[in-house]
């Protein structure tokens, strides 16, 4: 055994809790001059506010609850942010937030689909990494293969998704375990291909997707919102959406009306993989450098965003629009944390706390309402 080697490999292997990008690599604003805040205390206040209005909220129709809660909270957050961290609203910062949102929004949309069929996908981060590496590697060998590499990315995402879906629906594997194992495979394959030292660059031809746009709105955001719109419409109005919700809420009832629960589950995981691959493409266009662990935090971020947006882990509950708003909320909180804190790693804590608080609140509210 060679302990040193292992430690070295371990830092390469860190797939899950990879440190977020450190200062300087990611375009980021210099923070304003406000004092650091305690995210836990902020969350506590939000929680109190939540609980006091919980009973009122319960009387609202579900549609109002589904959208109203995240919108209301977001407006509240926007107002609070305007007071405590005005730097947030500077165009340059907003531009950054939009670029980041395009990535998180896409991953979250995929995650929502999987959550709706009572699953969870912990391999989105790995798929994003794979996309990044694929683009860089293919660019390294031949600079004219950009389009091919993009198609390959999406195929990888779809392949990962199909495998996840089949393991979960046909072999009865717990979703977290299947997707975690998948993460190991994908991340392992990346290591094997890159030998731990990622070669290649992100082709400059790709970068305008994230860097250019209309005004300060990057194309990537437009892509994300367009896909978001399609997902929202298909989930609320499409027959596919109906089958997703039916399978998530009661697979038995769905089966009895002739819906193939396997097909629905596999399709949800597949779409999630594809969206993650798209997000990976946009992410690589945005950051412009190669980091085989950059996608790691998107597992939690996408889940947290969905949960804040009212998507439940039980399945069949929640809306993609809510999740998109949840993503906005999460990103705002994270951005403000970054702006006002010297330590970039507070982000991790904030993400975790936001998710735990959100999911606890939903559980407590729910327990109050279902007697």
């Amino acid at each position: 055994m060679k302990p040193l080697d292992r430690t070295e490999a371990r830092s390469q292997l860190s797939t899950f809790a990879a440190p977020p990008n450190q200062g300087g690599r990611e375009p980021r604003n210099v923070s304003g001059s406000s004092s650091p805040r305690n995210p836990v205390r902020t969350a506590g206040v939000v929680r109190l506010a939540y609980e006091s209005v919980a009973s009122t909220l319960l009387r609202l129709p579900p549609t109002v609850r589904g959208y109203g809660l995240p919108i209301g909270t977001s407006l509240l957050v926007a107002a609070v942010v305007a007071v405590v961290e005005p730097g947030f609203y500077r165009p340059a910062n907003l531009h950054v937030v939009m670029q980041q949102y395009a990535v998180l929004g896409l991953v979250t949309l995929g995650q929502v689909l999987v959550l709706l069929v009572s699953g969870i996908d912990l391999s989105v981060g790995a798929v994003m990494n794979a996309a990044l590496i694929t683009i860089a590697l293919m660019n390294h060998y031949n600079e004219n293969l950009l389009l091919v590499s993009l198609v390959l990315c999406i195929l990888i995402g779809a392949g990962v998704g199909v495998t996840n879906g089949l393991l979960v629906s046909l072999r009865d594997v717990p979703p977290f375990a299947a997707t975690l194992g998948m993460t190991a495979c994908v991340q392992g394959a990346i290591l094997v291909y890159t030998k731990g030292i990622p070669a290649g660059n992100i082709p400059t031809a790709l970068r305008p997707i994230a860097l250019d746009g209309i005004g300060i709105v990057p194309y990537s955001l437009l892509i994300c919102l367009a896909i978001g719109l399609v997902v929202i419409v298909f989930l609320s109005r499409g027959s596919y959406g109906r089958t997703i919700y039916a399978v998530g809420r009661s697979a038995e009832v769905a089966r009895r009306v002739g819906i193939s629960t396997t097909a629905v589950r596999v399709s949800a995981y597949t779409l999630c993989g594809v969206f993650a691959a798209l997000a990976g493409i946009i992410l690589s266009a945005y950051v412009g450098y190669v980091d085989p662990a950059i996608g790691g935090t998107y597992n939690l971020q996408s889940i947290a965003a969905a949960v804040v947006g009212g998507v439940s882990f039980i399945g069949g509950e929640g809306k993609p629009a809510g999740a998109l708003i949840g993503a906005l909320f999460l990103l705002t909180v994270l951005n403000v944390t970054t702006l006002s804190s010297l330590n970039p790693f507070t982000q991790l804590i904030v993400q975790g706390v936001v998710m735990l608080v959100a999911v606890s609140l939903f559980h407590l509210i729910k327990r109050g309402s279902f007697a």
Binding site: P61, P62, V233, F234, R237, G238, S239, Y240, R242, T243, Y245, A246, R249, S250, E252, V253, A254, R255, R256, V257, G258, G316, E317
Partner: protein, 513 residues
Amino acid sequence: MNVERALVSARGIYKHYGGIRALADVSLDIGSAEIHALVGENGAGKSTLVKIMTGAEKQDAGQVMVDGREAQLTPEKARELGIGAVYQEPSLIPAMTVLENVFLGWEQRFGLGLLDHRRMRREAAAALDNIGARIHLETEVATLSVADRQLVEIARALVQQARVLIFDEPSAVLSGVELERIFNVIKELRSHGLGILYISHRLAEIFELADRATVLKDGRVVASRPVNELTMEDLIHLMVGREIGARHLRPEAARDRIVLEVDKLALGQDREPISFELHAGEVLGLAGLVGSGRTRLANALGGIRPARAGVVFRNGRPVRLKRPSDAMRAGIVVIPEDRKREGLILGHSVRENLALASLKELSTIGMVSAKAERRLASEAVKVFAVRPPAIDVATGTLSGGNQQKVVLGKWLVRKPSAEVVVLDEPTRGVDVGAKYEIYNLIDALVARGSGVVLISSELPEVIAMSDRVLVMSAGNIVGELKRGELSEERILRLAVLGREHELAASEGGGDAA
């Protein structure tokens, strides 16, 4: 039997679930060295009483006395006082061994939490020997037969020093030799001075086993007598006789066109294949006890759990019923028994539930037409008289009867309309008003030319609604009764005693006919 001699007795127990009365003024004594049978039809309140006497549920009024003293029962308290129960549903951990299960929650230990394996082994072996069970202590429960599992549960009660044992319808899950074994064990336990409460709705076994029988009907005790003062006729009389109220009789079906022909459908090992025909405009009642195979038959027809062999013909053509969509295509619809688990998505709105079975018809290029969906839902809500007549409320907020109407609506507003409709206990847990609306609906179905298979445990309902009744017992069809021959007693006799007895009775001079 007086209270002092009774080990456990119930005194004036009342219990309501929501607005529905489950038990009213029920009193019952279990004495030592006595087998006390509790009989009654499905829904008479037997299970509720068991739950109260084992502390699983709390009564609204009345007391449970143990050794003449009032006891506030919880499951732990009941066990401490020596009340054990053998349930139908699994109360053993399948992945654990017999020994572990016998002593679960009752582990014998030395200090430091160390288990006294030797002592537990000895006691469990003794208990199993006592009841003549030859089950290895290290066997995983998952690999045991249902009968052996019941023996393990009995052994568990014995090592916990139970003085009263409650058997919750063992005959619903056991048959033949296995049941005989349990009977012998029960008699053996009686000879050791235990008090036994034996729940059943199979009358024959009451006479074989019990010393005393208490009959429940609609949550009330209608009789409690020593078995030797009772005859089979008495018991049947006491159990039946529920009123369904006046209903106009539908004119008898023409029976000119066969819409469904079931040919030697094999539903399980050691079950005879099932064959019957269903005519257009006919209501075919399917009677039998719980566990007699009626739901299994329904699930086979709906492609939910395909049959092992056999052919089903629709309008003379054989159809494949491997999955639910096959049945839907073939125009066969099965309205499930458990509407909360199998029929409805309670979190969905009424509209979404109603549309679920018609998604294909409502969609163009993958998009559900909101207009068509609302039209369908509104129509269904009107036709099926769902109250409140709103289509956007969560289905879970409706009453049981209205939920049932939504289930019916979901399947019956589908176009093209199903020609074969199988209704599995359509009126269970439904209030009286909704019941009649469901009856009218059945009338409407046959009027439009559909064939209806009506599975029901409510005999008056089966008799009032059916043109013809098939009686099932132990997975087989044991008799067919035409409208003129229908009576609760005849159906019950077939369902309880099976075909052999009927044959024997008729050969012996037809004294029971």
